[in-house]
């Protein structure tokens, strides 16, 4: 917590050759309250070239600044404000940083120049799209305004009708624009994609910000894409947003194949776990030990555990780097326990997969698990890391145990939509590259399956006795 105790200190104001003693007090982000010492008098509006004081033994000189008077405030005569370079006094006093407000402009030339290598036809495409989106947004906003005074229920019905008619047509328009876009960028290099994606987002930012879906993928408030809020949006696949236009811009990406693939994989995992219970481990008296790696909110567990009997058969270990996601998972499971009137055996590990290999907690789990799955993780791991992680997971399987790992395929039809519009980049693999991750583990039986959209693969692994 930042300590906001009133900060008082001795300082000098420099005016020409003169050094004027004052007492100053932190007053706000951009002003100081001051009192002149030794009976000095200054006119309102007086300019000083520098404010000088010492902070933690270091001399700070900032300015120029101006004196503004104010009705007497606890003995202070007025305030000092900066007249050219504006310094952030919160940063200075509470974060120990000397930060000029204008520093935001520091990168201006770089940013302006970043558009220089944009291809002409891409520029044209973006300009046309920008125009069209403005037209659509205006029309939808105008309609919204016309039924704004209706009662809530009626508003809802009117909006639904608009969405079902002109709304769906707009979504088809977006599909067509995406096809056109893919034709333009097809031969771009990695660097070209990056640069053109940045350009597109800058140009279409206001439209992106209308969509809760796109806003979240772009801003990544928890520091990574695909957090639990995002997952929920994808699973819900509803019209969310503050306007009809916003709702459509939200629904469009959540209907796209990659989002459908995320919904599909939830079913696939549920079926796989149910199968382990009903066939592989049917006669076993032991609990089925399951590890979910990068589990997120683990909504799928609610689909797996539908009866008290189910709960008695499973033991879950949920690992994630995000403590918030784990506590969401925990509270879901607590509710489920209440609903089913039974206990669910679950352990939580708040670890990053990249550092988990060293944790003693995981060492205790060697050869422990009957089933391991990881869905939204390998899409972020480059080959050296993916190899190390998958080998370690394999070690924690018991003989006869199985593992299912998800990874989006290089041909994901949503790939460039995600990269350019959503600022959501995955590490894509071919089937061959995926299987190759386990090539140092000869005892592993592997095969690759696809879910229905064909955009996501599952590496299914069985551990054999070697």
């Amino acid at each position: 917590m930042i300590d906001r105790e009133p900060i008082k200190f001795a300082a000098h104001l420099i005016q020409g050759e003169e050094k004027i003693s004052i007492e100053a007090k932190y007053a706000s982000k951009f002003s100081l309250l001051i009192r002149f010492l030794n009976g000095h008098k200054a006119d309102p509006g007086s300019e000083f070239s520098k404010l000088v004081f010492s902070k933690n033994g270091e001399e700070i000189k900032i300015g120029p600044c101006q004196y503004i008077t104010e009705p007497k405030k606890n003995g202070y005569q007025g305030r000092i404000v900066f007249s050219q370079d504006v310094y952030d006094l919160n940063s200075l006093f509470f974060e120990d940083k000397l930060e000029k407000l204008q520093a935001e402009f520091f990168n201006l030339p770089l940013i302006l120049a970043h558009k220089d290598d944009i291809e002409k036809c891409f520029r044209e495409y973006t300009a046309n799209l920008n125009y069209d989106l403005n037209v659509y947004k205006n029309l939808f906003d105008c309609l919204d305004a016309r039924y704004a005074d209706e009662p809530e229920v009626i508003k809802q019905h009117v909006q639904d009708a608009i969405i079902e008619t002109e709304g769906r047509k707009f979504m088809t328009f977006l599909d067509e624009k995406l096809e056109e876009f893919e034709d333009i960028i097809i031969n771009y290099s990695k660097k070209d994609h990056e640069r053109h994606g940045y350009y597109l987002r800058k140009q279409l930012w206001t439209f992106i910000m209308c969509s809760p879906f796109m806003t979240r993928t772009n801003l990544k408030p928890r520091g990574y894409s695909g957090d639990s809020v995002m997952m929920k949006m994808i699973y819900d696949n509803k019209y969310e947003g503050n306007s009809t236009f916003g709702k459509l811009m939200h629904k469009h990406p959540s209907e796209h194949p990659a989002a459908q693939a995320v919904r599909n994989r939830r079913d696939i995992i549920t079926k796989m776990l149910s199968k382990v219970k009903s066939t592989d481990m049917k006669t076993s008296s032991k609990k089925i030990k399951v590890l979910s790696v990068a589990c997120g909110p683990a909504f799928e567990i609610q689909d797996v555990l539908t009866t008290a009997e189910d709960c008695s058969r499973f033991h879950f270990t949920l690992l994630d780097q995000d403590a918030t996601a784990l506590s969401e998972a925990a509270s879901q499971l607590t509710q489920l326990e209440k609903k089913l009137g039974t206990k669910i055996e679950v352990e939580f590990l708040n670890e990053s997969v990249r550092t988990m290999l060293t944790t003693p907690k995981l060492d205790k789990m060697w050869g422990q698990f009957d089933y391991i799955y990881s869905m939204g993780l390998f899409d972020y791991l480059t080959t050296p890391v993916a190899k190390a992680v998958i080998e370690k997971l394999y070690q924690t399987l018991n003989i006869g145990g199985k593992m299912a790992i998800g990874n989006f395929h290089i041909s994901n039809p949503s790939r460039f939509y995600m990269e350019y519009w959503l600022d959501w980049v995955l590490y894509y693999r071919t089937e061959h590259e995926f299987i190759d991750l386990l090539k140092n583990v000869p005892s592993a039986g592997t095969k690759v399956l696809f879910e229905d959209t064909g955009s996501q693969m599952f590496l299914q692994v069985r551990k054999y006795d070697n």
Binding site: K55, N56, E58, I60, S91, L92, D96, K97, L98, E99, K100, A103, E104, F106, N107, L110, I111, H114, S189, K190, K191, H193, E194, R195, G197, Y198, K220, G223, Y224, S225, Q321, S352, V353, R354, T355, L357, T358, D363, Y380, L381, T382, T383, P384, V385, A388, V389, K392, E419, Y420, D423, W424, V425, Y427
Partner: protein, 169 residues
């Protein structure tokens, strides 16, 4: 021709220049363009520098290991260094930083954000913290890392070889 090469780097700052030159020779033998070699050399130096700065060299014989692999359309550089508990705080910063950089489609965004931060002058000397961002932006490469069971940190970079990255194309 060998596709991989490995260097042992003693914990000594002067070693960086040596490995830089030797790895440049290796990359040259794979007919990579001067620009590609130049940016890979920058990447290798930044990673070794970090390895030396944050690694654990209290035990005699501890060293940084550099492994370079050139495949048909991809180059991988791995830099390994031993870590002890005192590095854990750094590992979590490394984790956050890498995920943050890779959260942008265009590493340019991470680069300008970082430069802006650096321009807000901290009153006390702090690390400039620009190394990894440079690797992603100027080096056009994907960063990742893991810590192996033997407490060896492995920071890696993969970089696609595209048209123009080789001399012959």
């Amino acid at each position: 021709m060998n596709n991989s090469i490995e260097f042992d780097v003693k914990p000594d700052w002067d070693e960086i220049e040596k490995v830089r030159n030797e790895s440049a020779d290796f990359l040259q033998s794979h007919e990579l363009s001067d620009d590609t070699i130049h940016s890979l050399s920058m990447i290798i130096s930044e990673l070794i520098e970090n390895g030396l700065k944050y690694g654990d060299f209290k035990t005699e014989g501890n060293k940084v290991v550099v492994i370079i692999n050139v495949a048909t359309n991809m180059i991988t550089v791995e830099v390994l260094n031993p870590v002890d508990e005192s590095a854990y705080e750094h590992l979590s910063k490394l984790d956050k930083t890498i995920q943050w950089i890779r959260g942008y489609q265009d590493p340019f965004e991470a680069y300008i954000e970082r430069i802006k931060e650096v321009s807000k002058k901290p009153l006390h000397d702090m690390e400039s913290g620009i190394g990894l961002v440079r690797i992603a932006y100027e080096g056009n490469a994907l960063l990742d890392f893991f810590v192996a069971e033997n407490n060896m940190l492995n920071v890696s970079v993969v970089s696609n070889l595209e048209k123009g990255d080789r001399v012959s194309s």
